[in-house]
Amino acid sequence: MPNSMRDIKRRIKSVSSTRQITHAMELVAGAKMRGARQLSEARQAYTDYMIDTLHMMAKALQKEEPNVYLRTNGCAKDLYIVLTSDKGLAGGFNSGLLKFAAETLAKSPEHAVIVCGVKGLDFFRRTGTEILDAFTGSSDTASMSRASVIGKRAMDLFLERKAGRVGIIYNQFVSAISQKPTLVHLLPLSNDELASAEDEISLIGREEGQKPVDYERTDFFDGIDPSYMIFEPGASYIAEKLIPSYVENAVYGALLESAAGELAARRLAMENATDNANEIIDALELAYNRARQGAITQEITEIVSGAEAIK
């Protein structure tokens, strides 16, 4: 076998094993993505009722002194929670998000970040952004416990007046082939807006006019006058507990979206890689067959001409 044929054979083998890996990653990411989407759907009911309760509470408390989560605290620093992935091989998932994050950060004169994911951590270290906390590992599996830790950290910073505003930047899962970098404003919430908000957009996505979480109004509170509601132990006590769990739930939602987005981006990237590998293999096989055919033709020519010579 001539050298060129052996080389081609070797390349086919190497590309095939790469294809095997990319194909396996594609399948794994696809399966995990479906899991993350299911969790998102399971969270739906909780989110719907949570937001409706917030509306109702806000109406009940309209005349009261706004609680600490509803007041601006005078701190000029904006805190952004930025969700990225730990690993690459996910197409433009991180680059798109970090570009959006850098643009958003540039708009606020004083800012700091809480970052999730190795990619984001590397980026903010490189750009010299103040990093108040970092969470790495398992960016593709969202958990309520992590959401709760991140949410508490952000709320603590807000309560200690080390952050005046808190927002979260993450990739929203639009479809299996696209994600959209999104900014959601978390703190401080505004009581008036909570009370008057007739739809979710004015409540949670007011900064960008976007709809960060799928939310559907329940009919639970229809026709209920909050002023006749009994609050046990008290309305302001409940509101002060409700808002943190709302924030944690919003962070959980963002983590789920980001995880699903990461997996979708990876699945797509790996699908493309597998397609490319197939193309390369096809081309190489053609080249190999040509080389083989050439070698056979040459051999036949040699034999025939040898036979001719003997005659």
Binding site: Y46, M57, F220, I224, Y228, M229, I230, E232, P233
Partner: protein, 136 residues
């Protein structure tokens, strides 16, 4: 009034645990009131819920589930319990709860610990173990 029912939902961030009718349910508030029962035609109430269980009665049937913090809203014979976590007794992982209990007890013996956090962890473990025992 006899025959009236509350339509009750028990919801957590990860799932809807219960969605059905109830002739009354008992929850534990986090405050001084302690346990109280909601019956049909209760006045509209929003109550904070501590760590504990909810007992759901539907006619002759009763079921109990753990409810780890949250709140409940009752209005017009509709009720929703929003819990941080909730589970039926048969879903409780006894080994995990027992380990959590041991860990919490150890932490409580140490000094300089987040006392409240350890105490809550112990409470949660005990509630799970007790409920799991009660249905055996």
């Amino acid at each position: 009034m006899a025959g009236e029912k509350i339509s009750l939902k028990v919801i957590t961030p990860t799932r809807v645990l219960y969605d059905g009718e109830s002739t009354g349910f008992i929850v534990r508030t986090s405050g001084e009131v302690g346990q109280f029962m909601i019956l049909p035609n209760h006045a509209p109430i929003t109550a904070d819920i501590g760590l504990g269980t909810v007992l759901i009665r539907n006619g002759e049937e009763t079921r109990t589930a753990t409810v780890m913090g949250g709140y409940t809203v009752v209005a017009r014979n509709k009720a929703v319990i929003m819990a941080q976590a909730a589970e039926w007794p048969e879903e409780i992982d006894r080994d995990r709860a027992a380990q959590a209990k041991a860990r919490a007890e150890e932490r409580l013996r140490e000094e300089n610990v987040d006392y409240r956090r350890a105490e809550n962890a112990l409470k949660r473990a005990l509630i799970r173990l007790n409920l799991s025992d009660s249905v055996k």
